[in-house]
Each structure stands twice: as structure tokens, then as C-alpha cells.
């Protein structure tokens, strides 16, 4: 078990490094840099910027150093938790992220929680009678929810409830308080609900059809015990699903954030890539990658603890329940 953990941890670190290097490479190699953008930031003003001014700008922010050196410098500083200053406004990157992150975090976590609150019981109930009416209806609704692009759903909800019916405010801020978050959360929750309900249904149904479950029923176990066992045996894929849904928590809700004018981390990341603001991109990427890798690591460890077979298999991933 210890060797397993260490191997996994080493793999996690390598992954982090790989992600950062890849992102660094992508953003620096992409055409255009922060200097060229700042020169044209006035939109289309007919004011020219001399090459000397651009060169000075680049020198000021170290954009003219070799790529490898910039990467190493950044990594070294990042280890000491110094994420530098944004190329867009000169403010500390950590401060910008700290302002944007809570919104995204809160939005996604609450949406996920709501989705699970409704989705898990729904999935379990559907799984208990496969092919039954609840199963068919919930399957239909979930597929329908999944098939709608989130930005369309969000925009429609906004226009109907805030623009026409006026039951929710158009913007979320200190004045409107929590009510401003109702619609974005609902939009995201509906999208995640489809995923969660389907997932739960599939895992539980498979577990219930398992020989072990049949044996349990033959022994006279009632439904609660059945469900408990099914959930426990599904723990591996559940953990995997959790790990898969995690990236969304940091940067996945950009479309919804844009539609509802919420200044979140998703929008910050997109804007930073468009502006070639490398320090901000790297810091957000690191954050997102750390969360993903940590969640994945946790999922693997949890699975290993619950199902010793996985430790014995050589780095094999949880394979699900039924062949």
C-alpha cells in the first residue's frame, strides 16, 4: 500500500510539472504577446507605438528572455508561493485570483451539491426498477438536459425570469445578495444533474444485478441493505466520477459566468489566455491542475483502500463492476 501511494504521488507531481510546461509552451509559442496587445488595447485608436516603447515594455516584464529561463524562474518563484504580477494591470496575480475564485468555487460547489441532492436519489430510484416508468422518464429528462448547451439554457432563464417576470435580479452583487446567484446555480445544477443521475443509475443498476446482490436478496436482505451494498461497490467509479467533475470547479463554468456577468475564475482564465497574460494563466492552471491531480490521487487511494485488488494490479485503473 505504501509503495502504491508513493508511486501515485510521484506520478501526480510529474503530471503537475507536465501540465505547467505544456501550458507555458503553448502560451509563449502562440502568436502575439502582452506587449503587442497592450499597444492596441485602445481598440482601434490610430496611435502608433514605437518599437522602442514595445521593446522597453517587453524588457520590463521579462518577455525577451529565453523561454526555458522564464519557465525556471517562474517555477522557482511559484515554489515560494510568489506568483508574480499580471501583465495586464500589474497587480499581484494572487490577488486577482483571490477575487475571482470564490465566485466560481461557490457557484460550482453549490450547483454540484444540488445536482447530487436531486440526482442521487433519482438515480437510485430509477436503478431499482430498470425499464420502469421512473427510469424511462428520468432518462428522458436527463438526456434532454444534457443536450441543451448551457449558455442557451442560462440566457433563456435570464431573459424569462429576470428580464420578463422580474423575479430574480439581472446581476449579482452586494445589493442583490444571494438572489443574484439563483439562476446561474440553477443553470449549472441542471446541467450537472443529468450527469449525476445517469451515473448513479448505471452504477447502482449494475451493482444490483451483480451475483453478490442476488445472493443477498436470496438471503432475505431488504432494499436498504441492498442499496447500501450497491453504493459501496460502486465507490470506485464514483470516486472516478468525482475526480472527473473536479476540473469544472475551477474553470469549467466560463460560459455561464459570461452570460450572467459573474466575474469568476473561468472568465479570468479565458481573458488571460486571450491577453497572453502568462503569470495569471500559469497560476490558474496550477490551481486547477493541483485540484484535479489531488482529487484523482484521493480517488485512487480511496478505491485502493476499499478494493485491494487495485493495489495488486499494476497501475490498472478501476475497471467497473460488471464485465
Amino acid at each position: 500500500m505504501l509503495r502504491f501511494t508513493l508511486r501515485r504521488a510521484a506520478s501526480a507531481l510529474l503530471t503537475l510539472l507536465g501540465v505547467l510546461a505544456l501550458v507555458f509552451g503553448l502560451v509563449t509559442a502562440a502568436p502575439g504577446d502582452a506587449a503587442a496587445l497592450a499597444a492596441r488595447a485602445g481598440g482601434n485608436r490610430a496611435v502608433s507605438v514605437s518599437p522602442e516603447a514595445l521593446a522597453a515594455f517587453r524588457h520590463l516584464y521579462g518577455l525577451d528572455r529565453p523561454v526555458a529561463e522564464r519557465f525556471l524562474t517562474w517555477t522557482w518563484r511559484a515554489l515560494r508561493l510568489d506568483f508574480g504580477r499580471s501583465l495586464v494591470d500589474g497587480q499581484p496575480v494572487a490577488a486577482r485570483i483571490a477575487r475571482a475564485l470564490p465566485t466560481t468555487f461557490a457557484l460550482n460547489l453549490v450547483a454540484l451539491f444540488l445536482a447530487c441532492l436531486v440526482g442521487v436519489p433519482l438515480g437510485v430510484a430509477a436503478a431499482r426498477r430498470p425499464g420502469g416508468r421512473l427510469d424511462r422518464i428520468s432518462g428522458f429528462v436527463c438526456d434532454a438536459l444534457f443536450s441543451t448547451p448551457t449558455f442557451v439554457l442560462g440566457l433563456l432563464l435570464l431573459l424569462v425570469f429576470s428580464g420578463w417576470l422580474r423575479v430574480t435580479p439581472l446581476f449579482a452583487d452586494a445589493e442583490t445578495g444571494l438572489s443574484g446567484f439563483v439562476l446561474p446555480v440553477v443553470t449549472l445544477a441542471l446541467a450537472s444533474l443529468a450527469l449525476v443521475a445517469r451515473f448513479v443509475r448505471v452504477c447502482v443498476a449494475a451493482a444490483l444485478a451483480d451475483p453478490a446482490a442476488r445472493a443477498g436478496r436470496a438471503r432475505g436482505e431488504g432494499p436498504p441493505a441492498e442499496i447500501r451494498r450497491a453504493l459501496r461497490r460502486s465507490s470506485a467509479p464514483f470516486a472516478a466520477m468525482g475526480a472527473a467533475l473536479v476540473p469544472a470547479v475551477v474553470s469549467g463554468s466560463i460560459l455561464v459566468e459570461r452570460v450572467f456577468s459573474l466575474p469568476g475564475a473561468g472568465g479570468l482564465l479565458a481573458e488571460a489566455v486571450f491577453a497572453r497574460d502568462l503569470p495569471t494563466v500559469l497560476a490558474l492552471t496550477l490551481l486547477s491542475a493541483v485540484v484535479v491531480v489531488a482529487a484523482s490521487l484521493a480517488a485512487d487511494l480511496v478505491t485502493a483502500a476499499l478494493d485491494p485488488r487495485t493495489v495488486r494490479a499494476d497501475d490498472a485503473l478501476p475497471e467497473g463492476i460488471a464485465p
Partner: protein
């Protein structure tokens, strides 16, 4: 049942967010993006300028008619040889903390502006030839240049940095960039990053107290939610699309409906052609490209009738606009004749070619403007019918900027916003090709070059007008780019606001601009 409860809860929750201040004293405005900095020297984007216009006065301001009028400076006097400018500040100009605005601030501002280490990219060009700035006494400063330039006075449409507030530390990363010291009618109250910026009255301001006590800026990137907010009264002003204007026009006359304000601005949209390429070298081809676009239809339909035809490098709102130049007509037959004459005949695939050169190219387009995209798609169709193959390449801004700076764009579509007294040389002089200047079309006409050189040292207004007229005529003949339309800007203004005045420089960047807005006695959001 559960749904009703949820709905009731939502209504209750939203009722809790009741606005504190009375409606009268607050103006709610919209920003299309978030300001990155409130340092008046470093600010580049429109939304930064809009906010700063209420916080900082300039040495000289533009009035409604774009004349330079006193601002922080009572007077800016140029020496007869146009090399030395003497600035006399107002006695009563003060910063929001009560300290006076002094010549030390002027010197500090100019030194910072021209410091190669400070990223003040866009304002520097106007101070080309700067030698030094010195304080003569507390109220007077002297700025010395080594060369005379005709547009020099416009350089003093310049805000100031407080030497005391911005001392100590790097200007680029100074904390004051997020909390500037104001000398204008308002000062910064609070800034909820990414959401709202609140300005409150500056009690130390030397001029007339503005009517609204507070101005709240809100960042709303998407136009549909912003328009909904204009309707509910959550915001009081926004830029309108043609469709939105149509809707407001339809509801005009009903009480409480926002009104539409339209005005000319110093801008135009155009297709840029890289004159170095064989396909664009012949001016007959370029003229044909202009004549194949139905610009009147574009103005009528895409701009709701609110656009004029552009006929050259200056728009009609400019004081020296040459009205005698007839815009090239929309005439596909004549255009095709021109193309034939230039040697481009239709090949078997329907695309014209002259020998080995196919009349095919890629047009780069920056993201963000729906209308530009539509015009480009329109042109693509017209060109295809005439045997021209134009591919459209949408690019994000960084990539677009990089390509333009490297002079690598074959063709591009863009809008150009001009300053009140623009220096045409930057865009049309053959010495100003990328990366030095903005002549991305690589236009070269020795006569135009000579005229532009002469303009630099022509200080007489009438002489300038004559020279500019000739420059416009020459460029019109050569048509190095296709000048498309001069759109009128459309703005939606809440019925609560009065005394909203316009200028060719927009609603906000002249004096008094938004500082002169007043709220009427009507109360409450529009129902």
C-alpha cells in the same frame, strides 16, 4: 407545491435587496469590460478612459465642438517658434485630499510618461521631440521640445499624476493604480473588482458640483443582459445595436421608455489591403473591390440608416473633411470591367486570374464586432459573384495584433477611431509602415508623403485645411484601402437622465461629458 415554495423564496430573497439611496442622486452606468488600471497615464482602453473622465480633468479639455478649452490649466501658451510651451495652472485646482495641483505634478507626469521603463505606450507619440519639463513656480511649468509640430497643443489634453501620491515605487505596479487621487468632479468610492465601481462626489473639486451624488459603473460584457437591464432601470445608459434601437424606437412615446441618442463620431470602418501583394498592387483592382460592396445598403440595413459613406481617411465629423470627394459608387458591372482591364479574367473555376496570380486572399478579422463580421460576410458573397475568392479568418486580438505588427496580413477588416486632431502621417506616410507606424497597407505615394511632411510644420488652420483636402483627394484616388462606412453611434439613455450632450469624440471624453448629466425628478425603476 415545492415549486411554489421555491418561487416564493426567490421573490422574498430578491425583495431583500432593496436599494438604499434615493433614485435621484445615483446614475448607473455600464462598462463593456473591466478597467485594468485607473492610472490616467497608463490607461489605454475605452472603459478606463470613461471612468477616468469623471475622476481627472485634463490640462486642456476638448469641448463639445472639439476646441481645446482650459481644464486644470488656465492657459497653455506656445512660443513663437513652437518649441516652448508654458502651462499656467488654475489657482484653485486641488487633489481630493486638499493639496493643490502644482507644477511639480506636471513635471512628474511628463517624466513618467516619457520614462522608457513605464509602459505608457499610447500617449508617448504626441511628445515626440520632448527635451525637458521644468517648474518655473508653483503654478507654472515650462515644457521644451526640440522640434516644432503642428498638433502639439493636442498633447496637452493630458491628465496629471499627483507627484506625492505616486511617489515611491514603480509606476507600473503602484497601489495607486487601483485607487487614484482625483482632481475632477468625482472621486473613487469603492471598487468591487469585476463587478462595480462606485464614484462619489469630490468635495475638493474646483468646479461646479455635479448633480448626481454617486455614479455606479457595472461591468456587463454581454449586450442582451445589458439591454434587459436598461429596460428594468438597473443601468441608465448603454451602447445600442441596430436591432435594439429599432425596438426602442417602436416603444418610443410611452412613458419611462429609454430614449435613443445618436451622434457622429470620428471613426470609420474599412477593409485594409496589403498593397505590397500582387493582387492589390493595381489601384483599379482596389477601386473595383470598393465598388463591389453596396455600402448604401449596409448603411440602410445593418446600421438602420444611421451610417454615412466613408470617402477617405477623414470622416465627415472632422473639421477638415473634404466634402467634395464623391464616394466610389456601388457598380458591380463597372467593377468587373475594371478587373478585366487590370488583366484579371475569370478562370474555369470562376475565380479571376492574371497569369499565375489568382485573385484570392485571406481577410483577417478581430473578434468582437458582430456588424464587422456581417459586413465581411456580405462582401464575401459579392466578391464571389464577381470572381474574387476571399477567405475569412477570424483571429483573437493577440494573434491579430501580432500579424498586423509584422505586416503579415493580406487583408483585414477593422474600425479606426481617430483623435480630435489626428496625425494622418502615422497611417499613410510610406515611412510609417509596420513595425514603426500604422501604415499596414504599405501605401506609398511620394506626393502624399511630401504633403504630410509639410503638414507637420503648418500652423495656420486654413493652410492645414487646404493641405489636408489635397491629401484626402489623393488617397481617395488611390483607394489603398476600401473605406466603408462611417457609422453613427447609437446610445440608449434612461428617461431619468437629462442634459446628455454629444460630441464627435463620444459622450464621455469631452468636457463636461457625463459630469454634466442630471437626473430628473421621476423616481423608481421603469415598470
Amino acid at each position: 407545491m415545492k415549486k411554489l415554495a421555491l418561487l416564493a423564496a426567490a421573490i422574498l430573497l430578491s425583495a431583500c435587496g432593496v436599494r438604499g439611496k434615493s433614485q435621484d442622486s445615483v446614475v448607473r452606468r455600464r462598462l463593456e469590460g473591466e478597467p485594468k488600471t485607473l492610472n490616467p497615464i497608463l490607461a489605454t482602453t475605452d472603459f478606463e478612459q470613461i471612468v477616468l473622465a469623471l475622476l481627472e480633468r485634463n490640462l486642456l479639455d476638448y469641448d463639445e465642438k472639439l476646441n481645446l478649452v482650459p481644464g486644470l490649466a488656465e492657459e497653455v501658451e506656445g512660443s513663437p517658434d513652437h518649441l516652448v510651451y508654458t502651462i499656467r495652472l488654475r489657482k484653485d485646482a486641488r487633489w481630493e485630499d486638499g493639496t493643490p495641483v502644482t507644477s511639480a505634478d506636471v513635471v512628474f507626469t511628463l517624466t513618467t510618461l516619457l520614462d522608457p521603463k513605464a509602459p505608457a505606450l499610447t500617449r508617448r507619440a504626441l511628445f515626440d521631440g520632448f527635451v525637458k519639463a521644468e517648474a518655473v513656480d508653483a503654478r507654472t511649468a515650462r515644457v521644451v521640445f526640440k522640434s516644432a509640430a503642428a498638433g502639439r497643443r493636442d498633447a496637452f489634453n493630458l491628465p496629471l499624476l499627483s507627484a506625492a501620491a505616486w511617489a515611491g515605487g514603480d509606476v507600473a505596479t503602484h497601489l495607486r493604480n487601483r485607487n487614484p487621487l482625483a482632481n475632477g468632479p468625482y472621486r473613487l468610492g469603492s471598487w468591487e473588482a469585476g463587478r462595480t465601481l462606485t464614484l462619489v462626489r469630490n468635495t475638493q473639486y474646483f468646479g461646479e458640483k455635479p448633480a448626481p451624488e454617486q455614479v455606479i459603473f457595472r461591468v456587463v460584457p454581454e449586450t442582451a443582459p445589458a439591454f434587459a437591464a436598461l429596460g428594468t432601470g438597473d443601468i441608465d445608459e448603454m451602447r445600442l445595436t441596430a436591432a435594439q434601437k429599432k425596438e426602442l424606437d417602436a416603444r418610443a412615446g410611452t412613458a419611462g421608455v429609454p430614449r435613443v441618442v445618436t451622434f457622429d463620431e470620428l471613426s470609420y470602418i474599412y477593409f485594409g489591403w496589403n498593397n505590397r501583394l500582387p493582387v492589390f498592387a493595381d489601384r483599379r483592382v482596389r477601386r473595383a473591390l470598393t465598388m463591389l460592396v453596396d455600402r448604401e445598403s449596409i448603411g440602410r440595413n445593418l446600421y438602420g440608416g444611421l451610417a454615412k459613406l466613408a470617402n477617405g481617411p477623414l470622416p465627415p465629423a472632422h473639421w477638415a473633411w473634404n466634402a467634395s470627394l464623391a464616394p466610389w459608387p456601388y457598380d458591380p458591372r463597372a467593377a468587373e470591367a475594371l478587373l478585366d482591364e487590370a488583366g484579371f479574367r475569370k478562370g474555369p473555376d470562376g475565380i479571376r486570374r492574371a497569369g499565375k496570380v489568382r485573385l484570392a486572399f485571406a481577410l483577417s478579422l478581430g473578434m468582437g464586432s458582430d456588424i464587422q463580421r456581417q459586413i465581411v460576410e456580405l462582401a464575401q458573397q459579392s466578391y464571389r459573384k464577381a470572381g474574387i475568392d476571399m477567405a475569412i479568418q477570424p483571429l483573437e486580438w493577440a494573434a491579430f495584433a501580432a500579424k498586423m505588427d509584422a505586416g503579415e496580413c493580406e487583408a483585414w477588416a477593422a474600425a479606426l477611431n481617430l483623435d480630435p486632431n489626428p496625425d494622418l502621417a502615422v497611417s499613410w506616410h510610406s515611412g510609417q509602415v509596420p513595425p514603426t507606424g500604422l501604415n499596414s497597407a504599405f501605401y506609398r505615394n511620394p506626393e502624399v508623403d511630401a504633403l504630410l511632411d509639410r503638414l507637420k510644420t503648418t500652423f495656420d488652420r486654413e493652410a492645414t485645411r487646404t493641405l489636408l483636402a489635397r491629401v484626402q483627394a489623393l488617397i481617395h484616388e488611390d483607394e489603398p484601402v476600401t473605406f466603408l462606412n462611417v457609422p453613427l453611434t447609437k446610445w440608449g439613455i434612461s428617461s431619468r437622465l437629462t442634459n446628455v450632450r454629444t460630441s464627435p469624440y463620444g459622450l464621455f471624453l469631452f468636457w463636461p461629458g457625463a459630469a454634466g448629466w442630471r437626473t430628473s425628478a421621476t423616481t423608481g425603476p421603469i415598470s
